[in-house]
């Protein structure tokens, strides 16, 4: 069942809001679409990476001499092939990267900091030879004690990963190096006063595990460097301009010499916003003077690409008897993995964002651990802190005997609310979402035996950023659209719809592509739920530029002033009777006269898209817990979220459902399991248990539309918010189904069974696990 809640339809749309077939659909369902590993070049070599078997070790020496003379080996690169980089943070999606760390993440320098850390890379004429070459590389390791957990890593006697890391954000600065990269704090109002006014206070500690984005397509790249130093790269990525920038920086090459083409992408979810193989493939190709193809296997993806943080979270919330929250406090400790830069900052900012509060204090710690460096994962940081806060809100509602929706309505952020992290919200759709939840068939349906229902809200900022779109009017009146934000969830469909809407043409007449970095102006990556918003805004602007040009051409043809020409209903027309009698012309007619009225017609937009607006979501989950095995089945699920304006509702629903599906995995079964030596024991989909299709119910959706006033069509990003509420909604449902409130993810069957047994052993006393 798919429902829509409308508010304020400012304009009647002809194309936007319909569900045409996506332009990339046929190739994807027939297997013709080219993903990262599908590119091949004549004479290409196979590139392979040697990875550290140790979680933490000093690298005393790397001897490649034996591998280098193995017949078929064409190039080897190690840390010596990359210049060291100074400490400098640059944005990558919603995360920051530091080139000092990027160069070390691509190839270890002083130390191996996690199992799977790349040590060297080889290019050879066959996979077999490349593997053999890896075996011949001798690395002299001094194995060091390791630490995996943020709380452990913060202890004074913990093994220190970076001997020069002094905690930032603390005055006076500590004198000793530690694993805490940064302390941050957001304070609003006076929490002491707030807690004093509270009738009820709940204080809880939560733990979550790192979870992987789980994209089905592993990282893959083909790089070809010419003798003149120019390079071509084909890669699966969320941002090929970012790949270009990182590679140019790490290799010391001119940006203009690297041309990057993004393949179709088999999932990214934030994880394909960083570089792993690309600089290695380029360095190998340059050395070997041949194209080099590198593809990670699943094990490498798990061992060496970034999940999101595991965390320890402490939350304290005080409320009045009527449910009004008077103070909220949280301490967040996020694992960053081997290098600093966990999403603890957005985690802090999100923690209480759904609520209109006076007194808030949030403290965050960015903590390095001997795990792969975290990467962005849908709403990075948000799901973790909001899981903890929403769980406490649920518990307070329960203690006060309040309906959890009413409790949230009483505190919901709305237009004008000052968020604890600073800004005032514009028009937002949280209240509308909560009301839609309250009236939904799901919320009002009866529950079966051993079933419970939970609800949670969620927030994500969303971003805009640098964006370029080019729209060409072809000779026959059809349109070619070039965008530069890789299409992760139906973007090309949405962009062609927006172009068609603006230009008054059939959507099938607009053929969109994701252009390469040398064919189009700069584009920041697809991340922050920005692509439909930003590239959509640029598309509308490019279309408007084309309309303007069409008017210019008509004025030339008709020999009347430009202001006597107007665009209406998809046609250029004389503005009034005084303009003379001329036949209105659509874009097909304009295309025919383009050559003789000034040349080819191109609409172009190169902007920094401002005005991204947050999206709030509300999820309802029904869980059934088997009382004898602790196994949880999600029996019903509904996602309600503000899309601003759903351009292609099917893909908005797809984002809602996908986020919920990933959240169900996060809540119930996904976790990294390490042995005592810090080696990952489950680097594959068999034992890293993401949900399969049969684990999920049909995920229902309700699209709320509170238009974003700063987008021409009202669009808000929708891609990230859907992964924020599931964990708390499911934890609340499991509480009601099992009688036990759990404070740790994943809520896997052994934990749930043990929790239920503990309750029984206590004679039914309220247990918490």
């Amino acid at each position: 069942m798919q429902e829509r809640v409308k508010k304020d339809p400012e304009r009647e749309f002809r194309v936007v809001g319909t569900r045409p077939i996506r332009p990339d659909g046929a190739d994807k369902v027939t297997g013709r679409a080219k993903f990262g590993a599908d590119f091949k070049m004549a004479g290409q070599l196979v590139g392979k990476v040697l990875r550290s078997p140790h979680a933490h070790a000093r690298i005393k020496g790397i001897d490649v001499s034996k591998a280098a003379v193995l017949p078929g080996v064409k190039a080897i690169v190690t840390r010596d092939d990359f210049k060291d980089q100074g400490s400098e943070f640059v944005p990558a999606g919603e995360m920051l990267v530091n080139y000092r760390d990027v160069v070390r993440n691509v190839l270890a320098r002083e130390k191996a900091l996690f199992e799977g850390h790349p040590i060297a890379a080889v290019a050879a004429t066959s996979e077999k030879i490349a593997r053999e070459a890896l075996r011949l590389i001798k690395v002299d390791y001094e194995v060091l004690p390791h630490v995996l957990d943020a709380v452990e890593a913060m202890k004074p006697d913990a093994p220190v990963l970076h001997e020069d890391m002094i905690t930032a954000g603390v005055t006076p600065p500590p004198t000793k190096a530690s694993n805490v990269a940064k302390r941050i704090e957001f304070v609003m109002g006076d929490i002491q006063k707030g807690f004093k006014d509270a009738d009820v206070i709940v204080e809880r500690e939560f733990n979550t595990k790192p979870v992987h984005q789980g994209y089905i397509e592993p990282h893959a790249v083909v790089a070809s460097v010419s003798e003149d130093g120019s390079a071509e790269v084909w890669v699966t990525t969320q941002g090929h301009w970012i790949v270009r920038a990182h590679c140019a920086r790490l290799l010391g090459w001119d940006i203009s010499k690297i041309r990057v083409t993004a393949s179709e992408i088999g999932g990214g979810f934030g994880g394909k916003t960083v570089v792993y193989l690309e600089p290695l493939a380029l360095a190998l190709s340059k050395k070997a003077r041949k194209p080099v193809k590198m593809v990670m296997n699943r094990e490498e993806v798990f061992r060496a690409s970034g999940p999101t943080s595991g965390a320890n979270i402490w939350v304290k919330i005080g409320a009045k008897k009527d449910g009004r929250i008077v103070a909220g406090e949280a301490i967040l400790k996020y694992q960053a993995g081997a290098f600093q830069g966990s999403p603890v900052q957005p985690g802090c900012m999100c923690a209480f964002a759904p609520y209109d509060l006076e007194n808030v204090k949030v403290v965050g710690y960015d903590v390095v651990t001997n795990r792969p460096k975290v990467a962005a994962y849908r709403a990075p940081g948000g799901p973790i802190s909001e899981y903890a806060v929403e769980s406490v809100v649920d518990e307070i509602a329960e203690q006060l005997g309040l309906d959890p929706i009413e409790m949230r309505l009483k505190n919901a952020a709305k237009e004008g609310t000052k968020a604890a992290y600073g800004p005032k919200f514009g028009p937002i759709g949280l209240v509308e979402g909560l009301e839609a939840a309250k009236g939904s068939p799901h919320w009002n349906a009866p529950l079966g035996k051993n079933q419970g229902r939970g609800i949670a809200a969620g927030f994500w900022f969303n971003i805009g950023g640098e964006t370029t779109v080019s729209l060409q009017l072809n000779e026959d009146g059809t349109l070619s659209l070039m965008a530069g934000t890789p299409d992760v969830g139906g973007l090309r469909a949405s962009l062609s719809m927006m172009a068609a809407e603006e230009l008054g043409v059939d959507v099938a007449k607009v053929r969109p592509i994701i252009a390469d970095t040398s064919s189009l102006g700069y584009n920041f990556l697809t991340g922050g739920s920005r692509s439909t918003f930003s590239s959509g805004m640029a598309t509308v602007e490019a279309a408007r530029a084309m309309i303007k040009e069409a008017c210019v051409r008509a004025s030339k043809l008709w020999e009347i002033p430009l202001d006597a020409v107007t665009w209406e209903d998809g046609k250029v027309r004389p503005a009034g009777d005084n303009a003379g009698k001329h036949e209105a012309m659509d874009l097909g007619d304009i295309a025919k006269i383009a050559g003789k009225t000034g040349g080819p017609i191109v609409g172009y937009s190169a902007i920094t898209a401002h005005g991204a607006a947050p999206s709030f979501g509300v999820h309802i989950a029904d869980a059934e817990v088997d009382p004898e095995t602790g196994k949880t089945t999600i029996t019903r699920y509904t996602v309600i979220q503000d899309a601003g304006k759903a351009v292609h509702p099917a893909y908005v629903e797809g984002q809602f459902q996908g986020g919920a599906a990933q959240g169900i995995g996060w809540a119930l079964n996904e976790e990294y399991i390490y042995d005592d030596n810090g080696r990952l024991e489950n680097p594959g989909f068999l034992d890293y248990r993401m949900p399969v299709a049969s684990d999920l119910p049909m995920i229902d959706t309700i699209i709320v539309e509170v238009p974003n006033p700063r987008h021409p069509y009202g669009v808000r990003g929708v891609g990230e918010t859907p992964i924020v509420p599931p964990m708390a909604a499911i934890a609340a449902a499991v509480k009601r189904a099992s009688g036990v409130r759990f404070f740790e993810l994943p809520m896997s069957p052994p934990k749930i069974l043990a929790g239920m047994k503990a309750v029984k052993a206590n004679g039914g006393a309220k247990a918490t696990t």
Binding site: E628, L686, S694
Partner: protein
């Protein structure tokens, strides 16, 4: 690496016995090929047994069935009589992997892969199946529960192949069931598996039973005490409680990435009871 696909069992045995290096049998390949790709094994010789017709057939024999070791799960499911006679075993074989995997995976391979968590093995043990082995010294029969000794360790001698399984004749009112616990619904490996096969008399009293547990010890177990707990009963509450306790008592599991010792022991009892009740219900109608 050498690949051979002989069309007689004797030729296969000769190849395997004569290989000086590491020789592996390829049936469905759903374990072997994965292990080869991930560098777990690098055989010098792979002998594909799918071309050997004897190993690819289901035949009626001595009132029961002889199932070739290289018959796939999907073929078992589509057989005219097997799913009715041995619904639990057929289900067990068809819990392995995805639909595509079930089109390749075989019970012989499942057994010889040597995993304590193999789904079809507790099904075979509960069924009382006898395996026929063919080796350089001829043929011999072994009960399935005596074949796997420890993880990746089998009672097979060099050159010996599991050729087929004999499922015994079924008395009236007999049936079986297999349940496994996985945190998901499919595409997973048993945390605990349990097969139960039983026979009822006209009054509904259980006259014969076999209970087998998987993934709770170093090898799949035949749990005789669990069977005794229900033989002579109508699977009333007390008998089921005894069955659960006996199943739990037989467990010697480990803590690993798939489950804890405590969890596996608890769930073994639960699955034994649930499987017994399903088998009972089916036997009443059989």
């Amino acid at each position: 690496m050498r690949y051979e696909a002989p069309d007689t069992i004797d030729a296969a045995v000769k190849l395997l016995a004569g290989e000086a290096g590491l020789a592996r049998v390829l049936a469905g390949g759903t374990d072997l090929l994965v292990q080869m790709r991930s560098d777990v094994v690098s055989p010098d010789l792979v002998v594909d047994i799918k071309k050997i017709s004897e190993l690819r057939q289901v035949k009626e024999e001595a009132g029961g069935f002889r199932v070739g070791a290289a018959v796939t799960g999907a073929e078992l499911k589509e057989h005219a009589k097997l799913p009715k006679a041995w619904p639990g075993l057929v289900e067990a074989a068809n819990l392995i992997g995805s639909t595509q995997v079930q089109g390749r995976a075989t019970m012989g391979g499942n057994l010889c892969n040597g995993s304590p968590a193999a789904d079809s093995v507790p099904g075979l043990i509960a069924a009382g199946a006898t395996a026929t082995l063919v080796g350089p010294n001829g043929r011999r029969d072994l009960k399935v529960e005596d074949i796997m000794l420890a993880p990746r360790k089998l009672a097979l001698t060099k050159g010996e192949i599991v050729a087929s399984f004999l499922l015994p004749a079924r008395p009236a009112r007999s049936s079986d069931a297999y349940l496994r616990f996985i945190p998901r619904t499919e595409m997973d490996i048993a945390v605990v598996g349990c097969g139960v096969s039983l026979t009822l008399d006209p009054s509904g009293t259980c006259t014969a039973a076999r209970v087998s547990l998987g993934a709770v010890a170093a090898r799949p177990l035949l749990v005789e005490d669990a069977a005794k707990a229900i033989i002579g009963t109508k699977l009333n509450h007390a008998a089921l409680a005894k069955l659960e306790a006996a199943a739990r008592a037989a467990c010697k599991p480990i803590d690993d990435k798939r489950g804890t010792v405590e969890f596996r022991i608890d769930v073994a009892g639960v699955l034994a009871r649930r499987a017994a009740l399903i088998a009972q219900e089916r036997a009443r109608k059989a």
